[in-house]
C-alpha cells in the first residue's frame, strides 16, 4: 500500500492533480502494476480530490485499463473481419492450445493474459496481435509459437537472474 501511495504521488507530480491528469495517471499505474486495484483507485481519488466513483467510472470505460489482475504480458488478438479472413481463428486456436487458456484468461504461471480486441490498424498485414505495446503482424501458427517461446525464455532468464541475486 505504501509503494502504491508513492507511485500515485510520483505520477501526480508528473501529470498534475487536475481531473485532466486522471487518464495519464491511471495509464501510469497500469504500466507499473499491470492492473488498477481498488486500493490504487482509492489512492488516485484521494490525490486528485475526486470521488472513487469518478475514478472507477473513467477507469472502467477504457478497454486498455483493467480493474482485475492480469498477466505480465497481455496478448491482444485483432478480431476484425479482415484479420478473421486471413487466419485469426487458427491463430486463436493455436494460442489457446499453447497457453492452455481461453480468451479472457491468464496463464497459470501469470505470464500471459489472452484477449481479443478491435481493429489494431494492421489490416493489410493480418492477422495481427499486440503483445503489450508491440505489434506483431502476418502471423501464422508457426510464428506465434516462436514469439511466445521468446517471451517465455526471457521470463525464465529473468527469474533465474533474480533468483541468483536473492541467493
Amino acid at each position: 500500500m505504501n509503494g502504491l501511495r508513492e507511485l500515485v504521488s510520483a505520477l501526480a507530480q508528473k501529470h498534475g492533480t487536475r481531473r485532466e491528469s486522471l487518464l495519464p495517471i491511471l495509464q501510469g499505474i497500469q504500466a507499473h502494476e499491470h492492473y488498477l486495484s481498488d486500493d490504487a483507485m482509492v489512492e488516485v481519488a484521494r490525490a486528485l480530490d475526486l470521488s472513487t466513483a469518478q475514478v472507477y467510472g473513467t477507469a472502467t470505460f477504457y478497454s486498455f485499463l483493467v480493474t482485475r489482475p492480469q498477466g505480465r504480458h497481455v496478448i491482444r488478438l485483432c478480431r476484425t473481419i479482415t484479420c478473421v479472413m486471413h487466419g485469426k481463428n487458427q491463430l486463436l486456436k493455436e494460442l489457446e492450445t499453447l497457453l492452455k487458456v481461453r480468451v479472457g484468461e491468464t496463464t497459470a504461471d501469470g505470464l500471459f493474459t489472452l484477449l481479443e480486441t478491435n481493429c489494431l490498424g494492421q489490416c493489410h498485414q493480418g492477422p495481427a496481435i499486440l503483445i503489450d505495446d508491440e505489434p506483431y503482424t502476418r502471423l501464422t501458427p508457426e510464428r506465434i509459437r516462436v514469439i511466445v517461446a521468446e517471451y517465455q525464455q526471457k521470463a525464465a532468464l529473468e527469474s533465474e537472474n533474480s533468483g541468483l541475486i536473492n541467493s
Binding site: 487536475r18 481531473r19 485532466e20 491528469s21 486522471l22 487518464l23 495519464p24 491511471l26 495509464q27 467510472g57 473513467t58 470505460f61 477504457y62 478497454s63 486498455f64 485499463l65 478480431r79 476484425t80 473481419i81 479482415t82 478473421v84 479472413m85 480486441t117 478491435n118 481493429c119 489494431l120 490498424g121 494492421q122 489490416c123 493489410h124 498485414q125 493480418g126 499486440l130 505495446d133 508491440e134 505489434p135
Partner: protein
C-alpha cells in the same frame, strides 16, 4: 499483374522531412491569406465526415476566446483503416507543420496529438520528432507546443467531443452538438480538431499551392486521398489516389478478379455490391446518397467465397462492444440488431424480422446521439438489403 488504371499519387508520402523552410515561410504570411488559400483548395476533413478544413480554421479563428487549441485526431479506430499510422510513421513532420500553421491562424499556444492506445509503439519516435520541431518553432518565433495524449482503447474517442471528454479525464462519452468544437471544444475553448491526414494535406497545399491541389479530384471532392486497402486483394496496403474514381475502376486495380462487394468507409461505412460498382463514385458529392461515398479511406474487399452474414455479424459485434452506452438507441439498438440477425440465421425468427431490424437501424440513424450510433444503419442496411438471402440461408 493487376491492371493499373488509377493514377498513384505521391504527395503525402513524398520524402520531405525538412519542413522548417516551409513552416517559416508560411508562418510569415497573414492569417487571412493562409485561411483563404486553404478554403480555395477545397480540402475537406479526411477522417470521413468531410467538413471543409479552411472553414473550420476560420470559424475557430473568429470565435471569441483567449485560449484556443489545435488537436490532431490520431485515434484511428475504424476497422480497415491504417493510413494515419502510416503517415505518423513516415511523414510526421508534415502533420506537425500543419498543426503549427493552424496554431498561428487561430491563435493557439498549445496543441495535442491524441494517439490511440493501440499505437503506443509509435510514441517514442513521434516524441523525438516533436522535440526537434519545437526548435523550429522557437526559431520562427511561434509560441506553440505540441504534446502527445495517449488514448486507452476506445473507438468512440475518435468522435471529437468524446475525445475532448477523454482528454479531460472523463469517460469518452460524446457531448450534445451544438455547440461545435470551433466554439466550444477542449476545456470548452474554441478548438480545431483535424484528422492526421488532413493536417498532412495542409502542408502540401501550403507548399505547392491551392491550385495544384484543386486540380486533383472532381466537383466537391478535391485533392487526393490516402486509402487503406485490405481484404481479398493481391495488393493490400496504403495507396494515395485521386478522388472521384468509380468503384469499378478501383476494383479492377485492387480486386482479385472475384470481388463480390466492397465495404467503403469501414464498419460505419457502406457495403457496395458488384452490380453497383460502376455507378458508385468515391468522394463527396453533395448529399449522401449511397452512389457517392465519402470515406475515411477504409476499403475492404470481399470475394465470392465470403459470407456477408459473417461480415455484418463481425461489424455488429464491434458496435455492441464500442457503443459508449450513453444513449438508448445505440446501446440497445446495436444489441438488438445483433440478436436479430443471429435469430434469423438460426431460423428462430422469420425472415420478415429483417424488415423490423431495418426500421430499427433507421430509428438509430435518426435518434442516436452521435455518429457511432447513427452510422450503424449504413453498413446494416447496405448489407441486409443487398445480401438478404445470405442473412437467411
Amino acid at each position: 499483374m493487376a491492371p493499373r488504371h488509377l493514377m498513384r499519387l505521391d504527395l503525402i508520402f513524398k520524402d520531405e522531412h525538412d519542413v522548417a523552410p516551409l513552416v517559416r515561410q508560411t508562418l510569415a504570411r497573414g492569417r487571412d491569406d493562409i485561411v483563404n488559400e486553404l478554403i480555395a483548395s477545397g480540402l475537406k476533413g479526411r477522417g470521413g465526415a468531410g467538413f471543409p478544413t479552411g472553414l473550420k480554421w476560420k470559424l475557430t479563428a473568429d470565435a471569441p476566446g483567449d485560449e484556443k487549441y489545435v488537436i490532431c485526431n490520431a485515434d484511428e479506430g475504424e476497422p480497415g483503416t491504417f493510413k494515419d499510422r502510416e503517415i505518423l510513421m513516415r511523414v510526421p513532420e508534415k502533420v506537425l507543420a500543419g498543426m503549427a500553421v493552424c496554431a498561428k491562424v487561430i491563435g493557439a499556444r498549445q496543441g495535442f496529438i491524441y494517439l490511440r492506445g493501440e499505437y503506443r509503439f509509435l510514441r517514442a519516435q513521434l516524441q523525438q520528432v516533436i522535440d526537434g520541431f519545437h526548435a523550429v518553432l522557437d526559431e520562427a518565433g511561434l509560441p506553440f507546443r505540441i504534446e502527445i495524449f495517449m488514448g486507452s482503447g476506445a473507438y468512440i474517442c475518435g468522435e471529437e467531443s468524446a475525445l475532448f471528454e477523454s482528454m479531460e479525464g472523463q469517460r469518452g462519452e460524446p457531448r450534445n452538438k451544438p455547440p461545435y468544437p470551433t466554439q466550444c471544444g477542449f476545456r470548452n475553448a474554441p478548438t480545431v480538431i483535424n484528422n492526421v491526414e488532413t493536417l498532412a494535406h495542409t502542408y502540401s497545399i501550403f507548399k505547392y499551392g491551392a491550385e495544384k491541389f484543386r486540380d486533383l479530384g472532381v466537383q466537391d471532392s478535391r485533392g487526393s486521398k490516402v486509402f487503406s486497402v485490405s481484404g481479398d486483394t493481391p495488393v493490400p496496403g496504403i495507396y494515395e489516389l485521386e478522388f472521384g474514381m468509380t468503384l469499378q475502376r478501383f476494383v479492377e486495380d485492387f480486386g482479385d478478379g472475384d470481388t463480390k462487394a466492397v465495404q467503403v468507409g469501414g464498419a460505419s461505412g457502406f457495403c457496395v455490391p458488384r452490380k453497383r460498382f460502376e455507378r458508385t463514385i468515391i468522394g463527396y458529392q453533395g448529399k449522401l446518397t449511397g452512389t457517392s461515398l465519402p470515406t475515411g479511406g477504409s476499403m475492404m474487399l470481399f470475394n465470392s467465397s465470403r459470407s456477408m452474414y459473417n461480415v455484418l455479424h463481425n461489424y455488429l459485434e464491434f458496435f455492441v462492444e464500442e457503443s459508449c452506452g450513453q444513449c438508448t438507441p445505440c446501446r440497445v439498438g446495436t444489441q438488438q440488431l445483433l440478436r436479430g440477425i443471429e435469430g434469423v440465421k438460426r431460423g428462430e425468427l422469420s425472415s420478415a424480422t429483417l424488415d423490423a431490424l431495418l426500421d430499427l437501424a433507421e430509428t438509430m440513424r435518426l435518434t442516436a446521439k452521435c455518429g457511432l450510433g447513427q452510422s450503424v444503419a449504413n453498413s446494416f442496411a447496405s448489407i441486409v438489403e443487398n445480401f438478404r438471402e445470405e442473412m437467411i440461408y
